[in-house]
Symmetry: C2
Subunit: 160 residues, 2 copies
């Protein structure tokens, strides 16, 4: 398990926008992200989970410099997309465990989450890929998160 984790990274350069209560039907995500793209907003992470009762939430991260523009764009499409509410969260950090073969090591995700839990760090968002597990946490806990993850995976240095 230890052998597959290569680095811990963290990123404080982005803010999160959550759009809540959108209709779970074709065209909603297209309209929202086309609007953001047309306004030059550099969307990075996008997370949408399964819907309940026909509505769902979509969160995305943007550079801090694009946050105000993102909120203007979401406000402009709110009536058309039937967005119940939307909110910005500038105070976030994305902490990631980078490795190889994560899919065949189910314990890596569990140990990352355990490590954060033992340090009392709440996980606000999760997104994974074949080589990376990312958690959004409060930016005030980013340094602590990186430190406890280093210790857990016995890594000397992180990537900045």
């Amino acid at each position: 398990e230890q052998a597959t984790v290569r680095a811990i990274t963290h990123d404080l350069s982005e803010a999160k926008v959550t759009v809540s209560g959108v209709a779970d039907q074709p065209g909603v995500a297209a309209r929202l992200f086309r609007s953001l793209a047309d306004h030059g907003v550099n969307v990075d992470m996008i997370v949408q989970n399964a819907s309940a009762e026909g509505v769902t939430d979509i969160s995305f991260t943007v550079p801090h410099a694009d946050l105000d523009e993102s909120m203007r764009v979401v406000a402009a499409v709110q009536p058309e997309l039937g967005i119940r509410e939307f909110a910005a969260e500038p105070g976030i950090a994305r902490v990631s465990v980078i490795g190889a073969g994560m899919k065949s090591n189910p314990g890596i995700a569990a140990s990352m989450f355990e490590c954060l839990a033992e340090a009392g760090i709440n996980i606000e968002m999760i997104s994974t890929s074949a080589i990376r597990i990312s958690c959004v946490v409060d930016q005030d806990q980013a340094e602590q998160a990186v430190a406890v993850l280093h210790a857990a995976y016995e890594l000397d240095k992180s990537e900045y």
Copy 2:
């Protein structure tokens, strides 16, 4: 924009489990994924979005062969984690656009979502990384999704 998309992939090998209404406090994700790991469940994709009123949902994908065991594990931790409800969805496909420099090309995500919307394909889940945008769609629409995305990005062949 076209230049950065390299391939379209699709994956029918997994099922999705959604755990709804868990408390958004440290330790919940750790407990759930430790249990799954201890039972040898190979979790692949994990998606958790922002919470509302202190609760949130977590979805994850597993090989079809691990679906029953996943549901047993979730049922076993349901009281301890205060899970409101959980459900399995075996009929899914993950369709991905693979490229480079996605972060600096905000139009790529928008065009992927537009392409699926125009084909009447609903997006059930979204997860992204620096080189990949993944959408979970109904498995019955996987082939159509791959075909329309190929046409949109002018790719001759996809990775299988």
